[in-house]
Point group: C2
Chain length 338, copies 2
């Protein structure tokens, strides 16, 4: 240390200054916008301000990293849900694939309508009919078989309006947002009414969210031995519905910690947003409002898919952040940029 000190004394101020410059150069990074697909405005400011607030040590709003839990609805929040949930397109294609093995479907609803291409007729039976389609096409097989079906379908199926793979229908601003949160020590989760087994094969690649951070609805699953090898069979029985009041229950069961940041887009997310808001300390509650019929779709209070009515009222009453897609997103889908 004496030698090092002598060197510093010998060269004096000049050497010291050089040292500091090198140090600063090593730490500096080019300041890039972490949310380039978000237009400047109050929504972007609120998000960035919140993240800054909870990650600055020594301030009253600081939240330690392990408690920075962020939850995101999937359909309509992270990717498109019109004109039908992607999982329903998968189910409809499965009905067509399986039809030759089920001649009785030609005369049984809702299968008959699906096979005639009459989607409206198929949906006329309501949730019960939809659930019947899901059960008939997605149970009685193992979880591994189901995963292969989903992955194979995603590799070839195309969205009817945009002629893009369904995994290209993810919202670029939301992909940037989850990455930005993770870069700031957040743990990001999907909390969706969609099937957990339908989402897990692709969320890591699409959102950087691994399977263990995906919460969703599920069928009952049973452990069985098949030719000496264990398998998990998806039973034709409802396990858990991760929607509406089920979302805080699913969050509690899977995460065990209350989110400090939550994003949804429909009344099915209201309880998740309420549960997030009711915690102590700084909170962020966000809603994607679909206002862009040109680049995506425009719908809210009257839509049968992704209805946003009560949650929009509560957001306005309580000052939650409402994203106006048309105003706040410079880009909706990454494929627009090509």
């Amino acid at each position: 240390m004496r030698t090092a000190g002598a060197v510093i004394r010998l060269r004096g101020m000049y050497v010291l200054v050089l040292g500091f410059l090198l140090l600063a150069g090593g730490c500096a990074t080019v300041r890039t916008d972490p949310l380039p697909s978000w237009n400047d405005g109050s929504v972007k400011q609120t998000i960035v301000g919140f993240v800054l607030k909870v990650t600055t040590p020594g301030t009253p709003d600081f939240v330690p990293a392990p408690e920075r839990i962020a939850t995101f609805d999937n359909d309509g929040t992270m990717w498109a849900e019109q004109p039908l949930y992607s999982q329903m397109f998968f189910v409809l294609d499965r009905v067509k694939t399986l039809a030759p093995q089920h001649p009785e479907w030609r005369t049984t609803e809702p299968f008959a309508s699906v096979l005639k291409g009459d989607i409206k007729g198929a949906l006329a039976g309501g949730d019960k009919a939809l659930l019947g389609l899901v059960v008939a096409t997605s149970t009685g097989i193992t979880t591994a078989e189901y995963e292969t079906l989903v992955s194979d379908w995603l590799a070839t199926a195309k969205h009817p309006r945009f002629n893009q793979p369904y995994t290209a229908m993810v919202y670029q601003p939301m992909v940037e947002l989850v990455a930005y949160l993770r870069a700031n020590g957040f743990k990001t989760f999907i909390v969706s009414g969609g099937g957990v087994e339908f989402m897990r094969p692709w969320t890591e690649k699409a959102y950087g969210i691994p399977p263990e951070q995906v919460v969703g609805s599920s069928a009952k699953v049973q452990y069985e031995m098949r030719a000496g090898k264990p398998v998990l069979m998806q039973l034709p029985e409802l396990g858990f519905i991760d929607d509406g009041p089920g979302k805080p229950v699913g969050i509690n069961l899977h995460i065990g910690r209350r989110p400090i940041f939550a994003f949804g887009n429909s009344d099915g997310d209201l309880q998740m947003l309420q549960w997030t808001a009711a915690g102590a300390g700084a909170r962020f509650m966000g809603i994607v409002h679909h206002t862009d019929a040109v680049r995506e779709w425009a719908y809210d209070r009257d839509s049968s898919i992704g209805r946003l009515d009560k949650a929009l009222d509560e957001a306005q009453a309580k000052g939650w952040t409402v994203v106006d897609m048309k105003r706040d997103w410079g880009v909706v889908f990454a494929f627009e940029k090509k």
Copy 2:
């Protein structure tokens, strides 16, 4: 840079050598044993060899970090489970606390036996009686209220044999093992038959395992509004039993990825170990065999708590790693070292 170079030239070899020494000192770490409480031998070698194998890039057994899932049973694997599961001691204390509000318990089994201090009598009713005790003492309250009860109890209750807090009854070698795995890019999970809400208040401090990586049994939970504030009520209804064949189901539901490393200690862990073993690529299956009546307990095939019978046979037949507690662990509990 010219100035810095001149400094080096001025002082010559001596300054250069000092520079390198400082650099080496900044990066070098003393090679410490990551598993100091494990005695040298084949078990420790197998663990370290497995970790080295799956974390060395470019080898056939390499596993990318996101797929390095490790699951651990809790009772009897991570902490002591004799003479009774810790959660049962909590339940018995809750019965005594609540007894004044339930005069009928003085004449109703299994409550009457508990209140007389006759634990054997209370357990005579089998699983159904035990479940009755759990339901009567742990439901009809919110998850937040339950968490407070557990935390308050753990702060004062002492283990009957060792007179230590229950959270001091964790196995030091296993605490070292989960930390060692995490240092090598593994994600460590608890997968226990115990109540998930009973474990989450303390696993982060005891094991470094956060709430979202704890899988366990649970009661049904319901979202309710109480004076305008949302709460989660624990209902007197069984939700999920994360034991035996329920463990692979719980792993699938919560993690969505098959573990490559699993540790248990009883027949309740057999299916988790089978499920882990049945995956492709390198696998580690471990069993803690309780063989040390002096420092802990010695029990296996005939124990009503933590019975190890079929899983021991399968471990021997399939070459899984069986820890002989007496032989393989230099320390069992951290408090021994004081």
